[in-house]
């Protein structure tokens, strides 16, 4: 119980101090760009009504989910194929390295040429931007399946789909999750800027509208919402990762201790 309280103190103290400092420092602020925190918080419930969340937050999140899921499926599937064959890998690697190195935001003008400015464009931008880290990490993970594990599987007749499902993909999963994690931050960036470029709804669109209309406190609440969304997605990701990779964290903790 005491330890729990102590932890709670550690978790809460600094955020509380930071918020208090922000509150106090901005309280008498007359700078239009730095409105008092009090004003921002008072504006928050007026701006982010249920209606607003439905028209702006939900489409953003849906588009992000669709693009991210597509990227995950395609990335893992293609990565598994490329990683399993040495020759294919040798042929594809330079091209993939180049495509990965292209900063994903430049995709926005390109995809706009093909897909206009609708939902498809944004989902495509997110999918194409997110796919590279997932793909390349999957290739790396599939390639690096331990030789003894591979031989064990072979000698016990574990081949084909069963080998993929029980040996190759689990063994590559830590790498795949590292890729998924990188892709998530890229996905959020692309979600926001594709909406800033061209959209009629969405979080990125709304925040830029506030800024253009000089509705400064409203803009600040938008920034807070985007931050909150990033934080929440990261929490969800961590929960999933803990569950799927529980064995991996346990294994690492054991080898670390015995070192």
């Amino acid at each position: 119980m005491r330890r729990f309280l102590l932890r709670l103190v550690f978790v809460l103290t600094l955020p509380a101090i930071l918020l208090a400092v922000w509150w106090a420092a901005s309280d008498s602020s007359t700078d239009v760009y730095w409105p008092p925190l009090r004003t921002i918080l008072k504006t928050f419930p007026d701006v982010w009504t249920v209606e607003r969340l439905r028209t702006d937050a939900v489409p953003s999140i849906l588009r992000l989910s669709a693009g991210y899921a597509t990227a995950a499926l395609v990335g893992v599937a293609l990565g598994t194929v490329i990683g399993s064959y040495r020759r294919v890998r040798a042929v594809c690697e330079p091209v993939l390295e180049f495509l990965r190195a292209v900063p994903p935001p430049v995709l926005v003008p390109v995809i706009m040429l093909f897909a206009g400015i609708g939902h498809t464009m944004k989902i495509l931008v997110i999918a194409i931007g997110c796919v590279w880290p997932i793909l390349l990490n999957t290739v790396e993970g599939v390639r690096a399946v331990d030789s003894v594990m591979a031989e064990t599987a072979r000698s016990y007749g574990v081949t084909g789909l069963a080998r993929l499902r029980h040996v190759v993909l689990p063994s590559a999963s830590p790498q795949i999750f590292a890729g998924l994690r990188q892709a998530l931050s890229i996905g959020i960036i692309l979600m926001v800027i594709s909406e800033m470029f061209a959209a009629s709804n969405g979080l990125g669109f709304t925040v830029v509208q506030f800024q253009r209309g000089f509705a400064i406190p409203d803009m600040w609440t938008g920034i807070l919402v985007l931050g909150l969304l990033g934080f929440l997605l990261s929490v969800v990701f961590q929960l999933v990762e803990r569950r799927v990779l529980g064995w991996y964290h346990g294994l690492r903790a054991t080898t670390r201790r015995s070192r």
Partner: protein, 281 residues
């Protein structure tokens, strides 16, 4: 049993393995011929780096020999045969860390297409045989090294093989665990009548475990000598290891391995040891 009497359970004939890669040519195994009879426990010893693992992988169908052949019950081995189970030295890398102990043992059985109830039965029985009945729900990495190797042995047992191939399985565990595991293997062998081929670099272990010891030469490998271990069937760590006969046998094998390292062709058997090893086929 469908195999022809007089043929061994396992026949290795003129086996040769040459590794070729990046312009280098390494002859790991030159010409090996020996037989393992059904229900026998044979130990292979040889100086380190003599191609024991290569030989075992050829026998298990994991490597294709350059020349010669391996026959299991008269059938030529071309890939991992369902009647053989492999126990690797690197237990930590041979068990899948993302599966619990029970799932690790069960996976090959699923591949065999056994029913769920039969699988459960085999898994429970195998884990009980190695003394790990309670560990089915644990992850391998939560267990000690010796226990992990027991899981690997249980996985092999549940597979119900005719032949068990063991590649230096106890090289990475501490001495006391090792003694326990040796007794476990001998116990399982006597209880279940499986044919076991046990590769080791430890002379004492080979003599203590084996019914017969096949001594390999240094690389490129040939059979240096075959030696029947005429110790009683009931062996235990305390008495067998101090028996005069045990000492004679291990001295003999030791000398053979020293000779193998020097590259001397096979010596005539010494007077002190009466060998009645079967003549090479």
């Amino acid at each position: 049993m469908t195999f022809v009497k007089g043929q061994g359970m396992l026949d290795v004939r003129g086996l040769k393995k040459v590794y070729e890669g990046s312009g280098r040519r390494v002859e790991a195994v030159r010409d090996l011929t020996f037989t393992v009879d059904a229900g026998e426990l044979v130990c292979l010893v040889g100086p380190s780096g003599c191609g024991k693992t290569t030989l075992l992988k050829c026998m298990g169908g994991l490597l294709t020999p350059t020349a010669g052949e391996v026959l299991l019950q008269g059938e030529r081995v071309t890939g991992p045969p369902p009647g053989m189970a492999f126990v690797f030295q690197e237990y930590g890398r041979s068990l899948f860390p993302w599966m619990r102990v029970g799932e690790n043992v069960e996976l090959p059985l699923k591949q065999k297409g056994l029913s769920r109830s039969r699988r459960r039965e085999l898994v429970a029985d195998a884990l009980r045989s190695v003394g790990l009945a309670d560990a089915a729900g644990a992850y391998p990495w939560q267990l000690s090294g010796g226990m992990q190797q027991r899981v690997a042995i249980a996985r092999a047992l549940a597979y119900e093989p005719q032949v068990l191939l063991m590649d230096e399985p106890f090289a990475a565990v501490d001495a006391q665990t090792r003694a326990d595991l040796e007794d476990l293997v001998r116990g399982l062998w006597r209880e279940r009548g499986i044919t076991i081929l046990f590769v080791t670099h430890d002379i004492d272990e080979a003599v203590y475990l084996g019914e017969r010891v096949v001594v390999l030469s240094a690389s490129p490998t040939v059979v240096q000598e075959q030696l029947k271990v005429d110790l009683p069937d009931d062996r235990d760590q305390l008495h067998t290891r101090v028996a005069p006969r045990f000492a004679e046998l291990r001295t003999h094998v030791y000398e053979q391995i020293q000779a193998a390292k020097r590259g001397t062709p096979r010596d005539a058997p010494e007077d002190a040891v009466k060998t009645d090893a079967p003549p090479p086929a």
